[in-house]
């Protein structure tokens, strides 16, 4: 069945894009480097996302060395425009704090919150969705009820209410964002597990006497991973946005520099010193774009119906 669909795909590919087919076959002849370059062109979104993110990760890694000391310390005169004075390449804010140092240290904070929240929500979401999707019955019914409660409350509103209750810190922000975002991941995991549990290889595992835990972890999970990885990548981006919005509204940790906090502080000076909001805004945009491109690229790359995967299969 898979072979048949691969074959039809090839036919349409043939008919519509003879030029690219020719490129593919010529790449195969000219050797490894050419085929790597060809793959890179086709996996463009994946490469672009990874490149963008590697810049931001490097920034986050070098922050303590490139900008030692407290990024919230006053280091110069206020309202220096980017490029106006040496040593303050991205200018200074209303209190004379270095914007470049804030961006670099803020990258650490944003990436930690984004990836931490995505990791926790993926863990919780996949566990809940796997149990609901695999067992069905009352486990599934109660799962659907719980996620419906989350669906009826706007996620960000819930996040704001929770942040009023818990004291803001790196870990509480990460945990709270994970708490409001796990249902999305759980629904994806549930759908995958429901679809896969009646596949013949899962039935075979049951007739061989495998227990439910082994079937979930060893048989179904590896086959459910591609969409889960892609969604996890998107949820990093959405967690970063949530954290920025929280900080912007003053609900974040005021003693830790974050991009959202910088935008919020720059808001009052939007007409006279717009760069104070625009620079951290650009940093958020670049990071979110990076994770979204990565998610898109991964979804395409991990799709088992890719043309080259199909042709690599022996008939």
């Amino acid at each position: 069945m898979e072979d048949a669909s691969a074959a039809t795909f090839k036919v349409t590919f043939d008919a519509k894009q003879p030029a690219s087919l020719h490129r593919a076959s010529s790449a195969r002849h000219t050797g490894r480097l050419a085929s790597v370059l060809f793959a890179a062109r086709r996996e463009g979104t994946l490469i672009a996302g990874a490149a963008l993110l590697s810049v931001i990760f490097t920034l986050a890694l070098v922050a303590p060395y490139a900008f030692p000391g407290d990024p919230l310390a006053i280091t110069g005169p206020s309202f220096l425009w980017p490029g106006e004075a040496a040593g303050h390449s991205l200018g200074t804010d209303a209190l004379g704090r270095d914007v470049a140092a804030g961006i670099a240290h803020g990258a650490r904070f944003s990436l930690f919150v984004g990836m931490g929240a995505a990791f926790l929500s993926t863990l919780a979401g996949v566990a809940a969705g796997a149990v609901a999707g695999f067992f069905g019955g009352w486990a599934d019914r109660s799962f659907v009820r719980v996620t419906e409660i989350f669906q009826t409350i706007p996620g960000f509103l819930l996040l704001m209410v929770l942040m009023e209750i818990v004291p803001p810190s790196l870990f509480s922000i990460t945990g709270t964002i994970a708490f409001v975002s796990w249902p999305m991941m759980a629904r994806v995991a549930r759908t995958e597990f429901m679809a896969l549990r009646s596949r013949e290889f899962v039935l075979a595992a049951r007739t061989l006497g495998y227990g439910p835990a082994r079937i979930i972890v060893m048989e179904i999970l590896p086959n459910a991973l591609p969409p889960i990885i892609a969604i996890a990548s998107v949820s990093v981006a959405s967690a970063i946005l949530m954290e920025a919005a929280l900080a912007f509204m003053g609900l974040g940790d005021p003693n830790t520099v974050s991009w959202g906090l910088m935008i919020g502080n720059g808001r009052e000076f939007l007409r006279t010193a717009w760069y104070l909001s625009a620079i951290p805004g650009g940093a958020i945009m670049a990071t979110v774009l990076g994770f979204n491109l990565l998610a898109d690229g991964l979804a395409r790359y991990l799709n088992p119906h890719r043309a080259d995967r199909a042709s690599a299969r022996t008939p």
């Binding site: 072979d3 013949e200 039935l203 006497g209 082994r214």
Partner: protein
């Protein structure tokens, strides 16, 4: 001893108004090959899945070697799982695409308490030889094999726990004709060497006549007739069986479809 003894089995899919398997009774004799034929939707696969306890019957009983397993809990089914195995229809869907063959063949042994990895490996190599697969198959993934080879792997996996009964659900219908013959010959050889009994499901009468001892004809979830495979053509009495026989392509006969109108109406009014 009688491996399987089934009486008044009723299996209903959730929400279905009519049971998919309706009041089915039969016995499987040790060493025989029992065929189940019928059109698609007649309940063959559902019956097979209820037999191997993938589905829970609504009522009736399934006894395996005089032990009632109709509603046995998974822990109590452990011995049953070693004794009864299944070969699935679609060799592309029945193997986990992300698992090497080694894992597919050795995990069942670990689940059933074989602790020594070397022993598991040796057993895996043994079933590969018995199914005429190369030893290096262990290192490979399912997509590296052809359809016929994958079905051999499916049979090897069913053999790994040393079963006495194999339920084959249309094991050759997804394969091309030359491969079908190879797989059927393999099943015949294994029946001798492993002392197996088969429940063999098919919609292909020529395959069933070649392969089976007795044939049960299923129609709308009921068994309408049980006949000896060898004399099926002469002995079949039920109009549905006659219609199936007439509908099958027959070498040396001019007209291939010869279902009289009256017969057809009798068949579907049941």
């Amino acid at each position: 001893m009688v491996p399987f003894s089934v009486s008044d089995l009723i299996v209903r899919h959730p929400g279905a108004p009519v049971p998919t398997v309706n009041a089915v009774s039969f016995t499987l004799i040790r060493g025989e090959t029992l065929g189940i034929v019928g059109e698609s939707g007649s309940g063959k696969t559902t019956l097979a899945r209820a037999l191997i306890r993938l589905l829970s019957p609504e009522s009736g009983s399934i006894r395996f070697e005089n032990e009632d397993i109709t509603h046995a809990r998974p822990a109590a089914l452990s011995r049953f799982r070693r004794e009864v195995q299944m070969v699935f229809q679609d060799p592309f869907a029945s193997l986990n695409p992300r698992q090497k063959i080694r894992k597919a063949l050795t995990t069942p042994l670990a689940v059933h308490g074989m602790r020594d990895p070397a022993e598991r490996e040796a057993r895996a190599r043994q079933v590969l030889r018995e199914t005429n697969l190369p030893d290096d198959a262990l290192e490979r993934f399912p997509h590296e094999f052809s359809g016929g080879q994958r079905q051999r792997i499916g049979i090897a996996r069913a053999l790994i726990l040393g079963p006495s009964v194999m339920i084959c659900d249309e094991p050759v219908s997804a394969l091309d004709l030359s491969t079908q013959a190879q797989i059927l010959n393999l099943l015949v050889a294994l029946k001798q060497s492993q002392n197996l009994s088969y429940v063999f499901i098919s919609h292909d009468l020529s395959v069933v006549r070649y392969f089976c001892d007795r044939v049960m004809v299923m129609h709308h979830g009921r068994i309408v007739e049980t006949v000896a495979a060898a004399t099926m053509e002469a002995d079949a009495r039920h109009p549905y069986t006659r219609a199936l026989l007439d509908a099958a392509p027959h070498p040396g006969r001019r007209k291939t479809r010869n279902v009289p109108k009256e017969a057809e109406t009798t068949v579907f009014s049941n």
